[in-house]
Symmetry: C2
Subunit: 361 residues, 2 copies
């Protein structure tokens, strides 16, 4: 990943707390890389005005205004359901290429496979980076991660787009401060963009989802005490549950952190589908991990951004009572309860391995 | 699908009851399309000698001997784990193309995307058929099949390659004889080959597994009383469970038929992974369907080909006692118990819908 990366982020018509996930995560975790965000509806405002975070990063209304901020690359700031390119963005992308910008994209439609984009980029000498382009020759998973020494933690969720990547990123720093060697394994376009490596498990051929997860964990575990694997979707999401289960059975985590949003009652884009109680979701994960390698849910991570503080604290207390597990919103409040749960689980697991080894000696 | 299709089936080094699934199903369900099978280890024998079925279909040892049987096409008769082409088969495939044969393949490696095969086929004027090539523009699934009137039955399994396609095909005829309009929805290369249409759900981009299943069921349900959906993998298979769950949540079946093999104790290619008791597998499926649309397991289908008759009958009786469900081996014995279970479930469901409609009137 080039160190002088300066993004103009394209989110025309879609900039918002829930609608521009790629842009928002880039703004939250790598703000130094963002020179401007483009959405004509909010021209003249700042990221802070629209998202409630992101400080003075300006929102611009035209490509020209964006180019005036001297970006080195255009980042496609959304990953819509199905991940295809909004048709009316083509002109902006071609304009950015003509202006000499590289283009980074997490869409399922690979820009580098688009004849017009590819030709124009070649002509102008810029690069098209497709974050979701999977590596060739992925294996079919077969439990190879069972030999890994590191403690593998996977974030799972009651729905998609609910904070699984954020949960992992928010606890990483605090775990490192406790002296743990922590690796984050990005499994989606945004996690890969932030981290500089990873595999988008939702973009591989279906037979290789778990194989991609397996390869990712094997790589992340090298020299790590704890691997935080970015979860995807939900085991009850009618569109994405296959990706979720493949990731669960390929990464074979030792423990899970369950992410949820108290204000959400039905699954994204599926108003017919009520989200079950947390205890049911936990029981379902227990049933799914038990035959392969049991992985308890050890903490609950709540996304309370849309609740007043009092209601948020109530929701956290309710989740704690309902599940008997540590719970918090690690963005809004102290991530400590989740950090401690992971750290204590790792310490206990390491102790057990050492004492078993001692008994064998 | 051309009506004068006459296959030479390539299974060099792999012809056998469990190792050449595509070939075997083609021999079982469309024997009139098979002129010869190529595996030099069994040259001079018949399919019957090697498989225990298939009658006088000859096994040949060389491409020349195969061509002497006047095939119109070469069929790649295996779909190995990962679905890639055995390297030493290239010469045979090129030889077949040069001899003017079309080539049919269910591999993940698309023959039509291979520069050498594509060039040679174009030169010779023959066609490369990739059964797993997915349609473009699949949707992300969102429960669209909930509006379908037909009764949707999905076969599921305790492992992959255990008889899920066979179970569906064995009961289809008997259901038709009872006056039901039945459609078989093929989800794998072999089912598609036999039926002439379908989508290989394991070959689509991961985010669209359920979307592929959804599209398939919507199409199969047109004018049908009962749709039999070919299952894939197993929800406990470490490599394929993602495909399995995507298919389950995309097709949203009304009921399931569970396929198992009594002699098998561990998951294919995963000797570390013990297959749980049938009742646990049923409970796991109940937990996975309940949040979206409950789908009871209504029958158990046993694959007893490798047991003596007495042991097979004992295993069937045990499965019946353990689960309280109708059970049989529909290939070896009368498929009636499974046929009746599906037919009775459909009748009951239709009655309930009618009486609810009458109450509203």
């Amino acid at each position: 990943m080039p160190s002088d990366l300066r993004f103009l982020i394209l989110v025309e018509g879609q900039f918002g707390p829930l609608s521009s996930k790629t842009a928002n995560s880039c703004i939250r975790y790598t703000p130094d890389r963002v020179v401007a965000v483009m959405d004509s509806r909010f021209s003249g405002k700042t990221a802070q005005d629209v998202l409630g975070f992101g400080g003075a990063i300006p929102v611009v209304g035209t490509l020209g205004d964006g180019l005036a901020r001297k970006p080195t690359a255009l980042l496609i700031g959304v990953a819509p359901q199905g991940g295809r390119l909004p048709n009316d963005w083509r002109a902006t992308i071609l304009g950015a290429i003509d202006a000499g910008l590289d283009v980074w994209s997490g869409l399922h439609t690979f820009l580098s496979h688009d004849a017009e984009f590819a030709a124009r980029a070649a002509q102008r000498g810029v690069t098209l980076h497709d974050l979701r382009l999977p590596p060739a020759d992925l294996p079919v998973a077969a439990g190879r991660v069972r030999d890994v020494d590191a403690t593998v933690i996977l974030t799972v969720g009651s729905d998609c787009n609910i904070g699984k990547m954020t949960a992992a990123l928010q606890v990483r720093e605090a775990l490192a401060q406790r002296g743990r060697a922590v690796r984050f394994a990005g499994t989606g376009q945004t996690g890969i963009l932030i981290e500089g490596w990873g595999i988008a498990v939702d973009a591989v051929i279906a037979d290789f989802i778990a194989g991609a997860a397996e390869r990712l964990v094997l790589e992340a575990a090298e020299g790590a005490d704890i691997v935080l694997v970015e979860g995807q979707g939900s085991v009850i999401h009618p569109g994405y549950s296959g990706v979720t289960l493949g990731l669960l059975h390929g990464s074979l985590p030792h423990a899970l952190v369950l992410c949820t949003q108290p204000s959400r009652t039905t699954i994204t884009n599926n108003p017919w589908l009520t989200i079950p109680p947390l205890t049911d979701i936990i029981a379902l994960h227990d049933a799914l991990t038990k035959p392969l390698r049991p992985a308890p849910v050890i903490a609950v991570c709540l996304n309370t951004y849309d609740l007043p503080e009092r209601a948020a604290l109530d929701a956290i207390a309710r989740a704690r009572d309902e599940t008997g597990l540590p719970a918090t919103d690690p963005v809004r409040f102290d991530p400590e309860p989740i950090v401690h749960a992971i750290d204590a689980f790792h310490a206990e697991r390491t102790r057990n391995i050492s004492s078993r080894a001692a008994m064998i000696r």
